[in-house]
């Protein structure tokens, strides 16, 4: 008889966009990056990326400019809080709809 | 009731080293072939200077009962001033033995129906070169002489092991002087 395998099940998951499910549907506030103020864009080099580092759902890319995956961005606002240049604003998802009217 | 267990109760004050002395005797007894050795200190809080007691049981067989001694075969009193506050002979078996550190001759101490052994450990320990007040090695010499249970040489080995970093040779000298100067009387 093969020895029993213990601890076959634990709560373990891969960190990455989508690990928390369809979290984009939770979003009330949408982060909008002001590219004129964003440090890597302004300096045109790989720098800062605090938004990428702090995003709890890994939905910000480490690119110039950083791109947010809105399918999974839940709108928590941590990127806006952490951006040292104040380049990210949280905009009410309902606002553009108001403007469309 | 088991009759193979020798029960020794140690009376001292918190900080005098009664537990260490009992532990040394426990070690020496074990080396001498007593496979069952259990030393049980007073459970709970201890305060420096307060009267405390420690139970030591020794037997050729394993000991299972860890409760404090109620009917000792002998009691060892590290400090004669305890006689005024503690009934050291409480429960002591008939013809039991009291080993006492006291300054007066043995005839001055009487415990009805008991043997008594006296040595002025406080003085002998200073003679051995120890600072005043260290008495727990000396009392072991008096215990050996009075009880005849454990050989003085084995006890001296155990003393030097226990005090390996704390003046081992002075402590063993104190035990030897006490052994040579223990007077036995009573009954």
């Amino acid at each position: 008889m093969a020895p029993k395998e213990f601890c076959k099940m634990i709560s373990r998951s891969k960190p990455g966009p989508g690990d928390g499910g369809n979290t984009g549907s939770w979003r009330v506030l949408r982060p909008v990056i002001d590219l004129k103020a964003c440090i890597p864009v302004k300096m045109n080099k790989e720098a800062c990326f605090n938004c990428w580092l702090y995003c709890p759902d890994s939905v910000v890319s480490k690119t110039i400019p950083p791109v947010i995956n809105f399918e999974y961005c839940k709108g928590c606002g941590i990127c806006a809080e952490e951006c040292p240049a104040g380049a990210i604003t949280m905009v009410n998802e309902a606002t553009p709809i108001e403007e469309d009217k | 009731m088991r009759t193979d267990i020798i029960e020794i109760r140690w009376h001292g004050r918190g900080g005098q080293g009664a537990i260490t002395a009992a532990k040394i005797v426990a070690n020496a007894a074990f080396v001498s072939g007593y496979k069952g050795v259990v030393m049980t200190p007073t459970f709970g809080t201890e305060r420096r200077g307060a009267a405390i007691f420690t139970s030591l049981k020794i037997s050729k067989n394993k000991i299972y009962d860890l409760s404090p001694i109620a009917t000792p075969d002998m009691v060892i009193v590290l400090d004669h001033t305890l006689l005024e506050e503690v009934d050291v002979t409480a429960g002591l078996k008939e013809n039991g033995l009291v080993v006492l550190n006291g300054p007066k001759p043995v005839s001055e101490y009487t415990f009805k129906g008991m043997k008594v052994a006296v040595s002025d450990i406080t003085t002998h320990s200073v003679e051995a070169g120890l600072p005043p007040g260290i008495i727990n090695s000396g009392i072991i010499g008096a215990f050996s002489k009075a009880s005849g249970l454990v050989d003085i040489d084995v006890l001296i080995d155990a003393i030097e092991k226990e005090f390996s970093t704390k003046r081992p040779e002075l402590n063993s000298k104190a035990a030897q002087i006490a052994y040579d100067n223990t007077a036995i009387g009573g009954m």
């Binding site: 213990f6 634990i10 709560s11 960190p15 989508g18 | 088991r2 459970f43 709970g44 009962d65 409760s67």
Partner: protein
């Protein structure tokens, strides 16, 4: 080599020989000398471990959880209210499947405040999911600590090694200290099944949904109930693993062979006294007196309480006239916890004995031979009339 030391030092020596790597503990009577000894070992370079002083038992277990999640062998120790203060973290440690080992010097629980021995502290933790091993003397303490580390890492479940406060923690008796090289062979280096690894980033124990769900790796991730079911299955299977470990230990060190229950004069006995911890040894002398009086009686100490060794209990008690369960704890509002567990196990036995329950020794009340004799005589004289309620020994009402 035999040494004469206290039970706490026996435990500390077992931890040293097991080469624990992270120790976090908060001192509490009667466990304190154990943690003091361990900090001495670390300070003196005898044990290569991080000793992390913490401000509470909750934090002590928190540090052990972190250290174990980082893949190190972690140890802590506590007593009584300190153990209760850890409670939330105890559940976490076992749910996270971390092989932490903890010693508990059993002590009564306040209020009212007490520092003396009973077993309410660990018995109250029986449903947490930790494995619980109980010791009867110093040799079992040092041996059980070493076995506990191997058991914990074999099944990825934390283990409590419990011994009576003061009665064992503060008494001195001889015990054999195993050689380091032999312990190193017996207890292989810790190879964790899961740990925080920067080369393989992972989330552990995040919110787990009621249902299963697909993970990012394409595999179906278990829900909460699957993970908990797996824990229960592994706990039950730990009985076999512990038996193997105990057998291996007996082969290497010449001691053991009673992983679940330790019996004394039970073979031909009509009556069997049952209890947990040092009381089972104290009862041996009482059993001898009863035997001298012509009563066929033995005593059995329960060594492993969780997982509960139902089969060993049935094997030991099936066909006896009466099992007399002495307990230093109870499930308040019902009866003795061990008593209830034993009755539950015996429900599946062919020839059920009567079962009696006595509560005694709470808060360090001295257990006198005379009391034990009276209780056993009472139980053996008219066993059928005892009833299902626990009787209390030594009460001065």
């Amino acid at each position: 080599m035999h040494i004469i030391e206290s039970g706490n030092v026996a435990a500390a020596t077992g931890v040293k020989l097991s080469r624990a790597q992270v120790i976090a503990a908060y001192p509490i009577t009667p466990q304190t000398p154990l943690t003091e000894k361990l900090s001495e070992f670390v300070e003196g370079g005898e044990l290569d471990a991080q000793y992390i002083p913490v401000e509470s038992e909750h934090s002590a277990m928190g540090v052990c959880i972190a250290a174990s999640t980082a893949g190190t062998r972690a140890f802590t120790a506590t007593s009584a209210n300190g153990l209760l203060y850890m409670n939330e973290q105890l559940h976490w440690a076992v749910g996270a499947r971390l092989p932490i080992v903890m010693c508990v010097a059993n002590r009564g629980i306040g209020a009212p405040w007490t520092v003396w021995n009973d077993q309410q502290d660990t018995i109250a933790q029986r449903d947490v999911g930790w494995i619980q091993i109980y010791c009867n003397d110093h040799q079992q303490i040092i041996d059980s600590v070493i076995k506990a580390f191997r058991l914990a890492q074999s099944v990825s479940i934390p283990v409590m090694v419990c011994y009576d406060g003061y009665l064992l923690s503060h008494t001195y008796m001889p015990f054999d200290q195993p050689e380091q090289s032999k312990v190193d062979t017996f207890l292989p280096k810790f190879a964790p099944t899961h740990f925080l690894n920067p080369d393989d980033p992972a989330n552990f124990n995040t919110v787990t949904l009621p249902d299963v769900r697909p993970g990012l790796d394409g595999k179906m991730a278990p829900g909460y109930i699957e993970i908990r079911h797996n824990l229960q299955e592994d706990l039950r299977a730990s009985l076999d693993v512990y038996e193997e470990i105990d057998t291996a230990f007996a082969k290497d060190f010449g001691r053991g062979g009673n992983p679940f229950v330790e019996q004394y004069k039970c073979e031909d006995a009509d009556f069997v006294a049952v209890c947990i911890g040092s009381l089972s040894y104290q009862l041996r002398d009482v059993i001898d007196i009863m035997r001298d009086n012509g009563v066929k009686i033995g005593v059995m100490g329960v060594q492993m309480y969780r997982p509960f060794p139902n089969q060993a209990i049935i094997a030991a008690l099936d066909g006896k006239k009466c099992a007399i369960v002495f307990e230093k704890a109870l499930s308040y509002g019902n009866q003795g916890a061990l008593y209830a567990d034993i009755k539950s196990a015996l429900y599946n036995s062919k020839d059920k004995p009567l079962v009696h329950n006595y509560i005694l020794g709470l808060g360090g009340r001295e257990i006198k031979t005379r009391h034990l004799l009276d209780a056993l005589n009472e139980s053996c004289t008219a066993p059928e009339t005892f009833g299902d309620s626990p009787r209390w020994i030594g009460l001065k009402l």
